[in-house]
């Protein structure tokens, strides 16, 4: 694989000494080294206090929001928790942070703050230690850092996205409740802090973020599209590095808290942009790059594929639920207010079956059809090391699931856009009166509710959706060419998937612009 991303490559590497032709040179996509271009940014991310400085204000706001959730008005649109977290934060996250700055939210996320503080026994400094002296002193030594807590290994069976997939689906099932009720939001968000803290005490480093946090799951998937990445500058420098400080840590910083081996990082999925590797690298070989949109294109496993299915299904279901004309569906989802349990169970069953079974099955059909359609009779003489004539079905499936990443992300941005444009005027109101107690701190508490450019919204939504489809088709076709080589076979293989993507796109367009 290319060191700079996930440019589709032949399926197998030629065996040493085989007669297979060398792979065609791959154009290295452009990268701009942001730490080189912006020295103040480099200075900033190299400070030990960098992450603390971005988490602390966020944590204080978060605590304020939780307090307003408990003591403030139960009216969602008048409580800063609901307006800021579920309207403003959500829109900012999916529409700006992820596409423009990858998992920058994880850099400033308050959920793991207390757990990580206890686990490290430090807020800012790192605890470098000589592994030979591991037994001298408290805690557990991992690599060349000392940690507190039990530092268990995360179970292998759960070393994937499945817990996050199910957790996110579960939370979304009840979204109608916590999106409108401040107290329920407090329980959900406070519960996440509690779970994160407990898991930091039990398991190594950021096991919570990697395997449990429901927000992290979709950030992992959609960060693949981001125009920003943390990567090594020169592969040779990393290869020659003796100490592997980015992985093992040391005096200058912590070994990658996300379990990544930064020098070999090829995707954004599991990089929380904590910048520890930028600090620990003895050769100054880690940096932050600007890069083209959708540069990471490899889905590695079924857990990641299902994350893509769940996200697209949810975008579609939410669009039907919150933007569609079928009020009874909204009532079904809002069971605690409406009390229609039969309707609620129908909604839950429909959502879970669609996300976990129906949509994946529907998606599999065109993948399989294209795979069959483009099959060729294998040659009688097989040259060792040459890519198989017909790629395996699983490989084809995983590669063709990738288009759902840009597609799904842009669908979510399109869905979230009216939320902020329609409800955005609540933001200045709740800033002046965060608890809904009748305060008017900045003189904006009594502004009239006014949707922003509502007549433009459908046009922007159409543009965003079409962008998603464009990147989906482009990357899907590139994957197909990488697998099949010949253009006509690549087209045959990808055409059924392209048709399905277009049909789903039309469904979104109908929902948004009628």
């Amino acid at each position: 694989m290319s060191p700079s991303g996930n440019i589709p490559q032949p399926l197998t590497e030629p065996a040493p000494g085989s007669a297979a032709p060398p792979p065609a040179p791959v154009d290295k996509p452009w990268r701009i080294d942001l730490l080189r271009a912006l020295p103040p940014l480099k200075w900033l991310v190299k400070r030990r206090w960098f992450q603390f400085a971005v988490v602390l204000p966020n944590l204080l706001f978060f605590m304020l929001f939780l307090t307003t959730g408990v003591f403030g008005t139960p009216v969602g649109s008048r409580n800063i928790l609901i307006v800021f977290v579920w309207i403003f934060w959500w829109f900012l996250l999916i529409s700006a942070m992820v596409p423009l700055a990858s998992r920058v939210w994880c850099t400033m996320c308050p959920f793991p703050f207390f757990g990580e503080w206890i686990q490290r026994g430090a807020l800012i400094r790192s605890r470098g230690v000589d592994p030979k002296k591991a037994k001298e002193g408290p805690g557990v030594v991992v690599g060349r850092n000392r940690y507190f807590g039990l530092n268990w290994r995360w179970p292998k069976a759960l070393s994937n996205l499945w817990v996050q997939n199910i957790g996110f689906l579960f939370l979304c099932t009840f979204s109608a409740h916590f999106l409108t009720r401040p107290l329920v939001s407090v329980i959900v968000l406070g519960g996440l802090i509690l779970v994160a803290t407990v898991l930091h005490l039990l398991y190594r480093q950021r096991a919570f973020c990697n395997y449990v946090c429901p927000v992290s799951g979709f950030l992992s998937l959609y960060s693949m599209t981001s125009v920003v990445e943390v990567r090594s500058k020169e592969a040779d420098t990393c290869a020659k590095c003796k100490d592997k400080g980015c992985l093992a840590g040391g005096e200058k910083g912590w070994g990658c808290p996300w379990f990544m081996y930064p020098s070999k990082m090829e995707r954004n999925n599991y990089c929380g942009l904590c910048m520890e590797c930028v600090k620990t690298c003895p050769y100054d070989n880690m940096t932050v790059n600007l890069r083209p949109f959708c540069s990471d294109t490899k889905i590695k496993g079924l857990d990641e594929a299902w994350k893509a299915f769940i996200m697209v299904t949810l975008a579609l279901v939410y669009s039907v639920l919150y933007l569609g004309p079928w009020g009874f569906l909204k009532d079904w989802a809002n069971v605690f207010e409406k009390g229609n349990w039969a309707g609620f169970f129908a909604y839950v069953a429909g959502l879970w079956v669609s996300a976990l079974v129906l949509f994946p099955a529907i998606y599999f059909l065109p993948v399989w059809a294209g795979w069959r359609w483009s099959r060729q009779k294998p040659p009688t003489i097989v040259i060792l090391g040459q890519a198989p004539v017909n790629p395996p079905l699983k490989e084809t499936f995983l590669r063709f699931v990738y288009p759902l990443v840009p597609f799904g992300m842009m669908a979510w941005v399109s869905f979230s856009l009216p939320l902020i444009l329609v409800n955005g005027s609540y933001i200045p109101m709740v800033l002046s009166d965060p608890f809904g107690w009748g305060w008017d701190l900045f003189g904006t508490a009594h502004l009239a509710w006014s949707p922003v450019v509502p007549h433009w919204t459908p046009y922007v939504q159409v543009f965003l959706l079409l962008q998603g489809l464009y990147f989906a088709l482009k990357q899907g076709y590139r994957h197909s060419v990488a697998m099949y080589g010949a253009r006509n076979r690549a087209l045959k293989a990808f055409a059924p998937v392209a048709v399905l993507l277009t049909v789903i796109e039309i469904a979104f367009l109908v929902l948004y612009v009628g």
């Binding site: 592994p131 070393s159 003796k242 992985l247 093992a248 990544m260 599991y270």
Partner: protein
């Protein structure tokens, strides 16, 4: 500034070979430190290979003392433009998905040893100086021995 192999004297070439073994030993130990408590089996393999690299280093060091005497020139592998032999993990996400198996550790080490073998063979083919050529031949043979050791490990693991 980075130097190319053809600018090194025989004394520096041997010093570089010693440094390569030292570096690999440290790399193996760094990986062992990270995997210790995570997957003790994998950590044990890395530790075992680090000890093997220490042994290689001692052999080369003895050879250096015999051939040239004195102290090693201050030459770091980082100072040389080529990567001679560098053991590395093949996937940045091994720890996340728990995918590094003990056997794979030997395979990665074998890949590095074969790379070194190839490197010294190429250097031998280009060497004009007979002393250098003899040295490269010895080093290539030594790497073949290391590779055989790992192949045996793979057969029995």
């Amino acid at each position: 500034m980075s130097r190319t192999l053809d600018t090194l004297s025989p004394r520096e070439v041997l010093a570089l070979a010693i440094h390569v073994e030292q570096s690999n030993s440290r790399r193996f130990r760094a990986f062992a430190e990270v995997f210790q408590g995570y997957d003790p089996d994998v950590a044990k393999r890395f530790e075992e290979l680090a000890a093997e690299e220490d042994h290689h280093e001692q052999l080369l060091d003895a050879q250096f003392r015999k051939k040239f005497g004195g102290t090693l020139p201050p030459l770091d592998q980082v100072d040389v433009s080529d990567v001679v032999e560098a053991v590395d993990l093949d996937d940045g996400e091994h720890l996340i998905f728990d995918t590094l198996k003990p056997r794979r550790v030997y395979e990665l080490a074998l890949k590095a040893e074969r790379g070194a073998q190839e490197f010294y063979r190429k250097a031998l083919a280009q060497a004009g100086d007979p002393t250098l050529a003899a040295l490269y031949r010895e080093l290539a043979e030594m790497e073949t021995g290391h590779a055989s050791f790992l192949e045996e490990k793979l057969r029995t693991s």
